[in-house]
Amino acid sequence: MVQLSRRQVLLATGAAAVVSLTGCGDDGPDKKDLDRNRAGAMEKYGVGDQFRATEPVTFSILYNNHPNYPLKPEWLFWSELAKRTNVKLDPVAVPLSDYEQKRSVLVSSGDAPLIIPKTYHPQENSYVSSGAILPVSDYLDLMPHFAEKLEKWNLKPEMDTLRQEDGKFYLLPGLHEKPWQEYTLAVRTDILEQLGIPSPTTWDEVYTMLKAMKAAHPDVHPFSDRFGKPNPAGNLLNMLALSHGLPGAGWNYQATAWDAGAGKYVFTGASEQYRQVVTFLHKLVAEGLLDPETFTQTDDQARQKLASGKSFVISTNAQTLVNDYRPDIAKINPNARLKKIMFPIGPAGPVNPASRLENGVMISSKARENKNFVAMMQFIDWLWYSDAGQEFAKWGVEGTTYTKDASGRRAPAPDVDIVGLNPKGTKHLQKDFGFANGVFAYGGKLDLVQSFFSPEEMEFQREMNGRKPAPWVTPPPAPLTDEEREQTTLWATALKDYVTQNTLRFALGQRPLSEWDAYVTELKGKNAQAYTDLVNKAYERYRKNHG
């Protein structure tokens, strides 16, 4: 038997490590060797081409089953898709209520379908280290439409936010041509008219408006808000923080936020902007303008207050205004009128703070070994990223589910309804045909995104698009290593709880704002500083390695 000296063993281990590290480069040896995976793929597939597999193929897909339009195998979507692309999708139907949990179990147990849609960044992070999902950035040459949209819409900075420590990204996000700000406030315009005040445009004017409402109706809290999950007053905090130039506070709370001025990451809950937001909230609560129950009540309770005239202002998006608030209130007070106001402007100026990325698709690493791998990537590219595929997924089949006039304006077919565009329609685009399905249809060109909008919402979006985009909503990449991620996860929960808890105490006046500095010090005691340093270190490291 050959005796190995300790030195030889060390040397061998070192060499092996070097070999495996070099294997991680962007152009790994694995990448180009796709000869065995081309079955069914199109020889030539480029921008503008209709994808069609050269032989019938089937791909398994995780399917997020929406309670409002439960999966039906007889949907026109499936048959038409097969007709156009020669692809049959084999859905694993998971109830929307627990989609993430099942996805997690399936991916971790190695039993995941090939295509895993409806993944919101950064949910994919936790799967990266296990190698269970595919670094899709290695295969963009198979996806001409995706690559073209990145290029044409200049989405590189946004895509960089998805990159992991190895410089690759693992998620194919939905892409929007223009940012789309959905949420803002809905206001009772009949009350505004009674009081003779104009619709507010800034947060200061919102304050003045609430003040006037309170003066006229001293027994109500004029503003009682909803969308308090998963974080209390999540949407309100988020909107306020965005207008102060701070992304990632509120319902999508992130521990650190990018401070463009300083060129580094700061701790969200200790930042100056966050202090201003909390101060503003405190002012609203202290003067009886904001219902303190905003931080604890359910959505339904907030709706009830608005409907019964116990409040006049509430957070909204286009759907909740039309589907919830207006019908609710119409039954009780036919004279009440509600309107979505422009996203209030704060110290950050008139910006459109929405991101242009959407939830997206992950691909199981097992797909790489599949003989139809190339065809699958082409198929995904066509369905989710080509103009034709996006139009198909959203509107269906021209002449059957929708019509298009000379100017290119789409309208539902006479017997089809969707989002109330054609209330006389007896069939529903989602329920009866399977189109406009959240799993397949999102993002795209401005005119496609807006094709479902009511004239009212178009007006809102036109004005929002007139505002300048906010570069600070796309922070530079600062991907953590596995160990760092584990470390930060350990810190994150306690920190987040502490921030939430103190946000409420400051806002509700249970803790005086003069103690803000003490609060920041307490956060440091809970590793807020160490957390921020780690992220800044990752940012520097990424810049050096991939910058």
Partner: protein, 295 residues
């Protein structure tokens, strides 16, 4: 015979008892009645917070909507099938195991009890369980729901205690008369244990009727899911969908499942199991007592 006059202390006790128990009943029944009232009300009345115990804007539209949804009935049928099959398996296995464990002369009895109790405190974890069930080929079958949770250790121990309380002489007599082990169990022990078995049936049936997680985990097709998952998706899903803003990107028309529809589904889901209770109630009390008082 003259019944002795109840003492003053006893009367006070009774009064307090009545008050406390009435309070408990009110607290328990109130939410249920609210749900029933909501299921019969107009959606707008619910949203504006007018419905408490009396339905406002009485109508049965929601019942018609829910009962005309084929997906609801498919899930409902699944729930019935899963509950019946799983309860049957569970009761048979639990009875057999408990009977064996109740025999003092059984060698390795402590080890067998230990094995069972061990699973009360330690589990393999979600993913290993999933991998096991999947590789056994149980996925998408009723067995995935029925087999992994077939024996509930708590129920097992209750039943074991009950069997231990039966007089040994009874079985000795049966043996003298020529009955074997199975004969003893089937002809002597089980007929004496009707109350116990009925209690077990109730326990298992309720837990399988209400359970959703196993089915959610192991069923990949919509038409295999039980009504609890259907209901959960309707309630949790609908309110979550409004939250995850980005999802609306497609113009998903997300309408929160109307409050009435939710209530109707809740009522229809609990109704059968509620109807079973009164019939098993009398066994239930005696069954549990029998197990408990064993010295």
């Amino acid at each position: 015979m003259v019944t002795p006059r109840p003492t003053r202390g006893y009367r006070v006790f009774q009064a307090v008892n009545a008050v406390v128990l009435t309070a408990v009943v009110v607290v328990t029944v109130y939410p249920f009645l609210t749900i029933v009232a909501r299921s019969l009300s107009d959606n707008a009345a619910i949203v504006s917070g007018q419905v408490n115990l009396v339905p406002r804007g009485f109508n049965l539209t929601a019942y018609r909507v829910v009962t005309s949804d084929p997906a609801f009935w498919i899930s409902y049928r699944n729930t019935v099938v899963y509950t019946v099959v799983a309860t049957l398996i569970s009761v048979v296995l639990t009875t057999c195991y408990a009977f064996v464990l109740s025999k003092k002369h059984l060698r390795g009895r402590t080890a067998l009890v230990g094995i069972a109790v061990f699973t009360m405190f330690f589990t393999g974890g979600l993913i290993p369980n999933y991998v096991l069930v999947t590789s056994l080929g149980l996925k998408n079958t009723v067995w995935a729901v029925a087999l992994p949770n077939a024996i509930n250790v708590f129920n097992l121990l209750v039943m074991k205690a009950f069997f231990e309380s039966l007089p040994v002489e009874l079985e000795e007599a049966a043996a003298v008369d020529g009955l074997g082990t199975y004969g003893t169990l089937l002809r002597i022990v089980l007929p004496l244990s009707k109350a116990m078995v009925a209690t077990m049936v109730l326990f298992y049936a309720v837990s399988f009727w209400n359970s959703w997680f196993a089915a959610f985990l192991y069923m990949d097709r919509q038409d295999l899911l039980p009504v609890t998952v259907y209901l959960r998706n309707l309630i949790v899903g609908a309110s979550d969908a409004t939250q995850t803003g980005g999802g609306l990107g497609s113009g998903d028309d997300i309408v929160q499942a109307a409050a009435t529809i939710q209530s109707v589904t809740i009522v229809l889901t609990v109704l059968p199991i509620l109807a079973v209770y009164p019939f098993i109630q009398r066994y239930f009390v005696s069954g549990i007592m029998l197990g408990a008082v064993k010295g």
